[in-house]
Amino acid sequence: MNYGYFPGCSLHATAKEFNDSTKLVCDKLDLELKEIDKWICCGATPAHTTNQELGIALPFANLQLAADQGFDTVVAPCAACFNRLRSADFEVKHSGYTAERVGYITGSRTDINVRILHIIQLFRDEYGYSRLKEVFSKPLKGLKVANYYGCLLLRPSLVMKLDDPENPVIMDELTNLTGAESVPWAFKTECCGASLAIPETEIVLDLSKKIIDSAKNAGADVIAVACPLCHANLDMRQKQIGKKFGADYSTPVLYITQLLGLALGIDPSKLGLDSHLVDPYPVLRAKNIL
């Protein structure tokens, strides 16, 4: 089976390591990802909060591309893209009126049926936990992970249908399979203010601080994320947070695919562990993982 891969804009830039680790892990697991040719930006939050039609048409055009290129499943690692793809699909399927408009705007048919999966869903539902457990060679024993789901991955739950919107477990289950220990904490699903990062940086610094604090209080060594926007706010802004609040902030933030990659024994530099602003190596070394 091959999957239509929708990396999204971030994975080709700031979230390069998410892209690399996703591909390496899938490779190792024989999950064949083929990038959708000529994919376009899903429009993220700015599109649907500015013009509803645009907010649906942009992601939907990608589903049309996938369908035209013969894919029956699209996989997106970016939670924001996943959210927009799912929402667009949902809106088009549930309203003939929207379907008609989107058909007109994209100039292509709307009666398509493509499954949309987030990358972690691919591991849970397609590959399966039992097989996953067997292939892990380097268990991450002793590492305490706070899994951060954020908002876009889960909500609206009726549309995302990925996991419980308040007490999700999928990332925790995956981390636990690697031998690491997922810690219970309160801010799993709080929003980091993703879309406000550039225009309202101050808000995002506050929100991110609370999230990191909560993870630290829960005893986490690292935070795991499944979204480039979460990563951008939590990893890249820790220095700014430290400055703003006058404290030292250095909790590594890893993509869940990087954790899985480590468990599969993939070279950490290939997984992009070097490109984080908060250096994860010291913690990983201290835990005897590297």
Binding site: N167, A186, F187, S214, N217
Partner: protein, 666 residues
């Protein structure tokens, strides 16, 4: 020749606004065999009824059609009026031009036309009505009360004091219901057990009451005045005729760590247990699932130490057949559990941690913490570490008034008991602070609003108008993120204990019981009364009444009032030796009956039997069906299975219905 009178009611404005009643009267006058028609403002009023009676006499009417409200509302009224003349009450029919016409349509022309149609239908039917004789049935002067909470106890005592026998059935090991678990009660703050326990004791000792605890209703057949009920007395493994209630067995039982139902999981009990010290009867029961002996064949400590040899490991469920004339259902309620996404679309509260944090408790648990007989002997200590909580946050409307969770109704009592909780808490923890998140305060009872005001003004509870979005733990504290819509702000409170006023829900196992009884229930599974205003304790099944919170969320005063009302209804029923029943029963035409027996199979009441027809020499000519009129309930199922059309149903004969259909569209 039929002579029919038609009486069209305006029902004030209710019908008159949408249906032109004078036109209906005029059009009715044109119908064949209608000799008199009139419209009037209130047909059911005294002058209205007199009009009907006068017209019957003056115009020699042989049938009457009242075009007004639903027959379910006033058929009895008008038939009684008709009966006061020479005419048989069964020659009166109603055309429902209110519920099924004026109230549901808007176009005056169409509604008037429909009203005329409905009158015509009934004129055609009533012409074919016959003066039936009501059926008399004997009444068994004994009542069954199902459920031994305050409602059931009150109903049983009132009936028993009225000198009728009562059988009371309680599914748990003791009577008392939820009231036994409460600390002090609003609006007077008197101690719940102090006012309840004497009633429990007299229910057990009353000469007219036979009490079965740990017993459930297995099956119910029959009808008003004559119900046959089978009870299943579950095995207690203790012989209640020998046991003295000494309690030694409880002390000796090695299984001590079972979570106590009575203490809402906040206390422990052994495998053989008396649910609480004041239990009635004061006899233990063995929890078979948890008992070491039942699990692996060893122990029997209780048996060894019981000096009366009351333990009986080989006891089995016992079935008891009783005959009763009336039934009172008083099965009460359960609290909504925030933990599970359970059946009927009722969702849990992920945002409040699904009840997994020990310091997020429900109100009933808080009652146990407040109660002198509770697990903390009345000291307010939080479950996680036994610390006295200094900041307590109460949340109202948890699950209630919440479409998303699947319960849109108001649970009615939580506003009041939350106010009570803040007061009792303050009385016990003087330096403590209570916060209450509420949506509205519903305190519409005698002295109720004053009570809530007292909580705020004298006992210093801070009321915040808004819901809470999330509760999470941060170290020692629970962070409550709520809103205060009055100031338009987010509010965050670091609390030691959070108490959720969770919704009052129907008993989870009520539906099968309702089905056995033939009693209706609403979409939340609360049992349905026959009429929300005029028959609040009756059900649609004659002879079966409701009391207490099984019908809707109710506090104690209301439960007691309804219980006494139900008792009055039962006593009224039992005051007659015979009942009159509407004679809508089926009848077999023996000449055409082929004796195929299909109807016998189909009848849900087993009212049909085979009857041999013999000639004078005693030789069998044929078998036919025979209907026992005492058992027949008039459902008509037999008619439609009979291929030779050999059965008819009085009141709904083929002829009547066909003539209705024939006159539908002219």
């Amino acid at each position: 020749m039929a002579r029919i009178g038609v009486f069209v009611c305006h029902c004030g404005e209710n019908i008159g606004r949408t249906v032109d009643c004078s036109v209906v009267a005029k059009e009715s006058a044109k119908l064949r065999d209608v000799v008199y028609s009139v419209d009037y403002k209130y047909m059911c009023s005294d002058p209205g009824q007199i009009m009907v009676k006068d017209a019957i006499k003056k115009h020699n009417l042989t049938g009457v059609v009242i075009a007004s409200c639903s027959p379910l509302m006033h058929e009895k009224t008008f038939r009684r009026a008709v009966q006061e003349t020479e005419l048989s009450p069964f020659l009166c029919e109603m055309a429902n031009i209110r519920e099924q016409c004026s109230w549901v349509h808007e176009d005056k022309v169409l509604a008037t036309k429909k009203a005329v149609d409905l009158v015509r239908l009934m004129v055609e039917k009533v012409k074919r009505n016959t003066p039936l004789e009501p059926i008399r049935i004997p009444v068994t002067k004994r009542a069954l009360v199902i459920g031994g909470g305050i409602a059931g106890i009150q109903a049983a005592l009132d009936i028993a004091d009225g000198n009728q026998e009562v059988v009371m059935v309680e599914k748990s090991p003791s009577i008392g219901g939820h009231m036994a678990q409460l600390s002090e009660t609003f609006p007077t703050l008197d101690c719940s057990q102090c006012i309840l326990t004497p009633k429990m004791v007299s229910a057990n000792s009353h000469k007219n009451i036979k009490l079965y605890t740990y017993t459930e209703v297995e099956s119910v057949t029959g009808y008003i005045g004559n119900f046959d009920v089978t009870l299943r007395k579950k095995a207690r493994y203790v012989d209640d005729s020998i046991c003295s209630g000494c309690g030694i067995c409880q002390e000796k039982c090695p299984q001590k760590k079972i979570s106590s139902e009575f203490n809402t999981g906040l206390g422990k009990r052994p495998a053989i247990y008396i649910p609480f010290p004041q239990a009635v009867p004061n006899i233990p029961v063995i929890d078979k699932e948890r008992c070491t002996y039942f699990k692996n064949g060893k122990c029997k400590a209780c048996e060894k130490f019981c000096d009366r040899n009351a333990i009986k490991f080989d006891q089995t469920d016992e079935f008891i057949n009783i005959k009763v004339g009336a039934i009172v259902v008083a099965t009460g309620y359960e609290m909504y559990n925030i933990g599970k996404n359970n059946k009927n679309g009722i969702k849990g509260y992920g945002e409040y941690g699904c009840g997994e944090d020990p310091d997020i408790i429900d109100s009933l648990q808080f009652e146990r913490l407040l109660s002198a007989s509770g697990p903390t002997f009345g000291e307010v200590k939080r479950p996680s570490d036994g610390k006295v909580p200094e900041t307590v946050v109460f949340l109202q409307c948890v699950g209630s008034r919440d479409k998303a969770k699947g319960m849109e109704y108001c649970s009615k009592i939580c506003c009041m008991y939350t106010a009570k909780h803040t007061m009792l808490y303050k009385h016990k923890v003087h330096h403590g602070q209570a916060f209450v998140f509420y949506l509205d305060i519903r305190a519409g009872g005698k002295n109720y609003d004053e009570f809530v005001r007292r909580a705020i003004e004298e006992d210093g509870a801070i009321y915040l108008r808004g819901r809470v979005s999330k509760i999470y733990r941060e170290g020692d504290k629970l962070i409550v993120k709520g809103a205060d819509t009055l100031s338009g702000s987010q509010v965050e409170i670091a609390a030691d204990l959070v108490v959720l006023a969770t919704a009052i829900t129907a008993q989870p196992d009520i539906v099968p019981l309702a089905q056995k009884l033939g009693v209706g229930y609403d979409k939340y599974h609360f049992l349905s009364e026959a009429h929300p205003k005029l028959k609040p304790v009756e059900t649609n099944s004659a002879g079966i009444f409701l009391a207490g919170a099984c019908q809707a969320p109710k506090d104690i005063p209301e439960s007691v009032a309804q219980a006494s009302a139900a008792a009055a209804k039962v006593l009224g029923l039992c005051s007659a030796t015979e009942l009159e029943r509407e004679p809508y029963v089926a009848k077999v035409y023996e000449s055409t009956c082929a004796g195929c027996g299909f109807c016998i199979e189909a009848c849900p009441y087993k009212a049909i039997d085979n009857k041999a027809i013999v000639n004078r020499q005693g030789k069998l000519i044929k078998n036919v069906a025979y209907i026992n009129q005492g058992l027949c309930q008039g459902c008509g199922t037999c008619l439609s299975v009979c291929r030779s059309k050999s059965i008819d149903l009085a009141g709904f004969t083929d002829e009547q219905i066909f003539s209705e259909i024939n006159s539908l569209f002219v």
